[in-house]
Symmetry: C2
Subunit: 194 residues, 2 copies
């Protein structure tokens, strides 16, 4: 229904596909609503785009199953079975997703922990170096300007254990990255839901 006739097969061009999806989806929902009104029918429609977005419609402002006076037991049993199977599938998928994400979080957590240990060692080294430098500066200063010794100890002057704990508990920056992108060390956080 347009300038040209199109074959009914997956549209290759992603942009065209998205545009057509948007147009046809709104057309479909419109027609579903019209059918419900014109013919006094119950209509339920659910659409997932290929990118995972959800669109749905149910006539009569009520969930499936709130008015089935006309249905017989066999039909209802059938519907119940289908819904139960869908429910099982969705639960499984959801559980798997959560398990995956927990594993991923654990993996990245342990990476971060290793990174923290390394940073801790680095800090320790720099700290020792610093003390050494300060000592030298102090000795030099004592020789040349005995009265102007003002180089203070920095905040690094704490227990090593404290430094490590602070690093582990630090808040992640807000992340919204493509999953396929390889995260650099120090950006290993995962969001549970979108």
């Amino acid at each position: 229904m347009g300038r040209g006739k199109i074959e009914i097969k997956r549209i290759d061009n992603a942009t065209n596909r998205q545009v057509t999806f948007s147009k046809r989806r709104s057309g479909l929902f419109k027609k579903a609503k019209e059918l419900a009104i014109l013919c006094d029918a119950e209509v339920g429609l659910i659409v997932f785009s290929s990118t995972g977005r959800l669109y749905d419609f149910a006539s009569a402002r009520q969930l499936l199953g709130q008015q089935f006076s006309g249905r017989d037991v066999k039909d209802l049993q059938n519907l119940e079975d289908k819904l139960e199977m869908s429910l099982r599938n969705i639960r499984m998928k959801k559980d798997q997703l959560m398990i995956d994400q927990i594993q991923e979080l654990n993996r990245k957590g342990s990476l971060m922990h290793r990174e923290n240990l390394e940073l801790h060692n680095k800090v320790n080294l720099v700290y020792q170096e610093n003390i050494e430098l300060q000592r030298k500066v102090y000795e030099q200063g004592a020789n040349e300007h005995p009265a102007s010794s003002t180089v203070k100890h920095s905040s690094l002057d704490t227990e090593n254990e404290d430094v490590l704990v602070n690093l582990e508990l630090s808040q992640p920056r807000s992340v919204q990255r493509d999953k396929s992108e390889t995260p650099s060390i120090g950006e290993t956080f995962v969001q549970i839901s979108g």
Copy 2:
């Protein structure tokens, strides 16, 4: 989209409504399928006519929820909740329907039982009458043709209890009647599913 434009409101004429339902339903399902194919989307469509007939379509030959790699946990939780509520509603409706039908069966069963008792009494009466008649015939025959006494006892010549049991266990004729029609006594059977 036809000879005239129509307003989107319930079609009053039942015949027109049915015809329009049939046409538009097939159009809707066609478009749902096209959307699924053209745009690589998951589409689920379910329609109940006002007379209670069910039509449905789900893309990709699988039940809702068998391929949701792209979905996040929040969406799936949402879907799970909706399906669970639908399931509860359908179960309740089904259970109520079955309870109603069991009650109806009990009611009609007790009617039948009463009817059987009455029939039993009637049979008893007729049987006694029969015995009386046979006796008279025998006495008459003995007077006129002593050698030709051939009137036999019929199959009614059984224990009363047996007669009653047989009546209660008799097979119903096949019934497919409108529920609103008042059944005559002796046709009080109910079908569980259509």
